[in-house]
């Protein structure tokens, strides 16, 4: 079946550096992708999304890149801060499907 997975379960980054979190997906029909951030004891929080008609989208300190050829998604966080420490999930779905499929998550730790 379809799956969404992350390459690295943990990532440690020095404060102020940039971080990149990667995600692979297997459903070529997926056309909508989302990154969520989950802090300890909280529910996932929407960060940024991208549709398949785009290959890049920028937010505040975050950029999502989509490579449909290799079915790869990445989240770039610029100038990381301690508050960026969390688990990051990618999720995907396709038009007409109400269910998001989530990856297992990457734990990002920002080292002061």
């Amino acid at each position: 079946g379809e799956s969404v997975g992350l390459h690295l379960p943990t990532l440690s980054v020095q404060e102020g550096d940039n971080s990149i979190i990667n995600c692979a997906y297997s459903n070529s029909a997926s056309d909508y992708f989302i990154w969520y951030k989950q802090e300890s004891g909280k529910g996932p929080q929407f960060i940024i999304d991208i549709r398949s008609n785009m290959d890049k989208r920028q937010g505040q300190r975050v950029t999502v890149l989509l490579n449909k050829t290799v079915k790869h998604l990445s989240l770039q966080i610029a100038a990381t801060q301690p508050g960026d420490s969390a688990v990051y999930f990618c999720a995907e779905t396709f038009h007409g499907n109400e269910k998001l499929t989530f990856g297992t998550g990457t734990r990002l730790t920002i080292i002061p």
Partner: protein
């Protein structure tokens, strides 16, 4: 409140007991989702409500699980005859758009089945 509210935040129960988990979505959000998150895992879809349409129950793991959404607002997830493998965080999310877009999650209910 401004966000999705879930209660209780923690629930400890004995194997074989029934539990009810409550979700208050954001006012005006027509779409409501239940997900389950096991320790160190991603989120597993359980059920989806959209307006007055029949819910999508395709993610419910067994007939011990059921959910209702009364008046298009509050939802209750019921687990009957709980088993230890039901232990997880149960997350509710709502959206004004459906289609899996822009979900706003509650903080979840941590269910522990002893």
């Amino acid at each position: 409140g401004a966000g999705v509210s879930q209660s209780p935040s923690n629930k400890v129960t004995e194997k074989g007991k029934d539990v009810e988990l409550r979700c208050d979505p954001i006012s005006g959000h027509t779409a409501l989702y239940w997900y389950r998150q096991s320790l160190g895992q991603g989120l597993e879809f359980l059920i989806y409500f959209q307006g007055n349409s029949a819910p999508d129950k395709s993610g419910l793991p067994s007939d011990r699980f059921s959910a209702e959404r009364t008046g298009g607002s509050v939802s209750t997830l019921t687990i009957q005859r709980t088993q230890q493998e039901d232990s997880a965080v149960y997350l509710c999310a709502s959206s004004s758009q459906g289609g899996g877009e822009k979900l706003f999650f509650g903080s979840g209910t941590q269910l522990s089945v002893l």
